[in-house]
Amino acid sequence: MITIDILNEWGADTTEGLTRCIGNEELYLKLVNAVTKDPNFDKLKTLTSEGDLKGAFEASHALKGVLGNLSLTPIYKKVCEITELLRAETDIDYSGLVKEITEMRDQLLSYAE
């Protein structure tokens, strides 16, 4: 089960995240659980592999907002990075970045399970 301590160890800024939830730990952990199942992760993977940079940008942008609000810092930073590249429609191979993001998400998912 995911806990504040696990998230802290993982690198999340839970103090900031909890502040946004007005100290409501239950809500915060519920939302962290929810984000691990966010379909935008899969969308990002699929659309970048298909070269749909615009669609991929929308998915990464949505993730960026949510991850930032939960202060899941490591994955948030990576999503910010890919979002800016996609916003500029930078023609690069996104698979490496997407893989890193997916692994981080999977790690969180494993805590959740």
Binding site: T19, R20, C21, I22, N24, L27, L31, A34, V35, D38, E58, H61, A62, K64, G65, V66, G68, N69, L70, S71
Partner: protein, 567 residues
């Protein structure tokens, strides 16, 4: 105290629009302690919620990047909506460009992503709701519901604000009044009257836009305009005249405009508009002009007039009005024979000294006060006649002025009758001077009244003959017993042959009519000689005497009685 603070405990409803449920939940959790919160997952759902019950929302918190309909489109739809446009929108974004764009579209504020501390979000929401509610309250209180122009109080407050930051700019105060506006309401109904006001408001708004100003409806039919200074008002007036051609019921109304140019910034803005209004009011009875400009003389004149009007009743009570008598001499019987006198009013005002009747009589004629004053003179003159009868055993004839205002006063006949009866005066010795212009204005009605006066025994002198515009044809049908030639004829008659000929023509007309003629304003011996030759019967003027108080006039009576003894 801010009234909104009193109702602060009422929970406002906010709408959170975000396609991400996590964001909605975080924000909902922050706001739900202070607000009732509704959610929409995209722009379309947001517009549906707003259109269904928009008036219940105090605030919309809006994500920008959403599927189906993005936040920018939602802002545009809200701003274009007649009711929803008053709901403030706070956008939630992480990008600077989006902040700028949304503010330009009409967003009230923005919240950054990731979200700031809850306290900051709550403070921003509270501030925006308060500002918006204040703005809406002000909007309703600040504008006249019929025209949408500022109300008077807000107009002056906006002037104060404008002057705080731009005191150096030259400004003009303009007052625009719709004369006879009540006629539109009376003749065509209130709704049409409102249409006229809205039409004129359209003209005013065009003017204020052109001249960097703003305006208010200060009274039912009066507008105040605060404008950038104009040296020349010709184009301004032409513009109004042109636009007025299309106004409904244009023939029933008239626009008059008072302008105080380059206002004095050291005096109160209310005074600027008082001055503009004063000159506007001066045009009330002048149908030849539509626009008048304030200057100090004009203003002082109006203040002076106002004082005279206010002081009039008190002046009667305190005996500040004194009746003087100017003699009329017969010149055709071998000697200058004192025949009668004209009673003339003088005002010994403690503040202004002796005030010329030329200053206050036209003024009192305008507002009807002349009736009181004339009545006072009639009573004084009749009383004086009674005193002289007792003292000299003669009925000395006196003429008094009768204004056109007096004639239509319901108690006119009774008043005159009571005065002569109470002093036991034969009405034939109490002559009534009626100006030629009075005849011209109300010819049929006036002829009837004059005939009635003659039936009562009064004799009528037509005063200022030649100054009005009565036609020769009309003169023959007007009832009067004596004709007083306007003093301008006398003053001009020695100037050239034409003027002299004119006096001769007047004398011929009088001979034809078979009535005696009095020449007024005679000052020189030569004038007397000429008039005598032309057959003029009586002369009144400084050549014989200026108007005198009763005790001095008595010396003339005594001299006359002495001369009569010696004939």
């Amino acid at each position: 105290m801010n009234k909104l603070e009193n109702i602060r405990n009422v929970k406002r409803r906010v709408l959170i629009v975000d396609d991400e449920i996590i964001n909605r939940e975080i924000l909902g959790n922050i706001l739900s302690a202070d607000y009732d919160v509704s959610f929409a997952e995209d722009g379309i759902a947001a517009m549906e919620a707003l259109e269904e019950e928009g008036s219940i929302y105090s605030l919309v918190l809006l994500d920008l990047l959403m599927p189906k309909m993005d936040g920018f489109e939602v802002i545009e739809k809200i701003r274009a909506h007649e009711v929803l446009k008053n709901i403030p929108v706070i956008v939630m974004t992480s990008e600077k460009d989006a902040e700028v764009k949304s503010i330009k579209l009409g967003a009230a504020d923005f919240i950054t992503k990731p979200y700031d501390y809850p306290e900051v979000i709550l403070a921003r929401c509270e501030r925006i709701i308060e500002l918006s509610e204040n703005k809406n309250v002000i909007k309703y209180a600040a504008t006249d519901t019929l025209t949408g122009l500022y109300t008077k109080d807000f107009f002056f407050e906006y002037i104060r604000q404008a002057e705080l930051f731009n005191k150096e700019a030259a400004r003009d105060a303009v007052v625009l009044n719709i004369t006879r506006f009540h006629l539109v309401n009376e003749l065509y109904g209130r709704e049409e009257g409102d249409n006229v006001l809205r039409f004129i408001t359209g003209i005013i708004l065009d003017i204020t836009e052109k001249n960097s100003g703003f305006a208010c409806r200060s009274e039912a039919d009066t507008f105040c305009l605060y404008l950038s200074h104009l040296d020349d008002y010709d184009d301004f007036l032409s513009f109004i005249k042109k636009r007025m051609r299309d106004i409904p019921h244009a023939s029933s109304i008239r626009i008059r405009i008072g302008v105080y140019q380059n206002v004095d910034k050291d005096i109160n803005p209310h005074t600027w508009f008082d001055r503009a209004r004063t000159v506007c009011d001066i045009l009330k009875n002048d149908y030849t002009k539509q626009i008048a400009f304030y200057n100090n003389n004009l203003y002082e004149q109006s203040i002076f007039n106002e004082c005279l009007i206010n002081d009039m009743q008190q002046a009667i009570d305190k005996k500040q009005f004194v009746v003087y008598y100017q003699p009329k001499y017969g010149i055709q019987n071998g000697r200058y024979e004192l025949k009668s006198a004209e009673a003339l009013i003088r005002w010994e005002n403690p503040q202004y000294g002796l005030i010329s009747p030329g200053l206050f009589i036209p003024l009192f004629e305008q507002n009807g006060l002349i009736q009181k004053l004339d009545s006072f003179v009639w009573e004084e003159a009749a009383s004086q006649m009674e005193k002289w009868r007792e003292k000299y055993a003669i009925d000395f004839p006196i003429s008094v002025n009768v204004s056109r205002v007096d004639i239509f006063y319901p108690e006119f006949f009774n008043n005159l009758k009571n005065i002569i009866e109470s002093h036991q005066i034969d009405p034939k010795n109490f002559m009534l001077e009626v100006t030629e212009s009075a005849y011209v204005d109300n010819v049929e009605e006036l002829v009837e009244i004059i005939e009635k006066l003659r039936d009562m025994g009064f004799r009528i002198e037509m005063d200022d003959f030649g100054s009005g515009y009565s036609s020769l044809n009309m003169i023959t049908s007007l009832p009067f017993d004596v004709l007083k030639m306007d003093m301008k004829f006398i003053r001009n008659m020695q100037k050239d042959e034409k003027s002299m000929r004119l006096v001769e023509i007047v004398m011929d007309i009088v001979k034809f009519l078979g009535v005696p003629v009095i020449a007024e304003g005679v000052e020189e011996e030569e004038q007397v000689n000429i008039l005598k030759k032309l057959g003029c019967d009586l002369i009144q003027g400084y050549y014989f005497s200026k108007p005198l108080p009763p005790d001095e006039f008595e010396k003339l009576i005594e001299k006359e009685l002495e001369e009569r003894k010696n004939i």
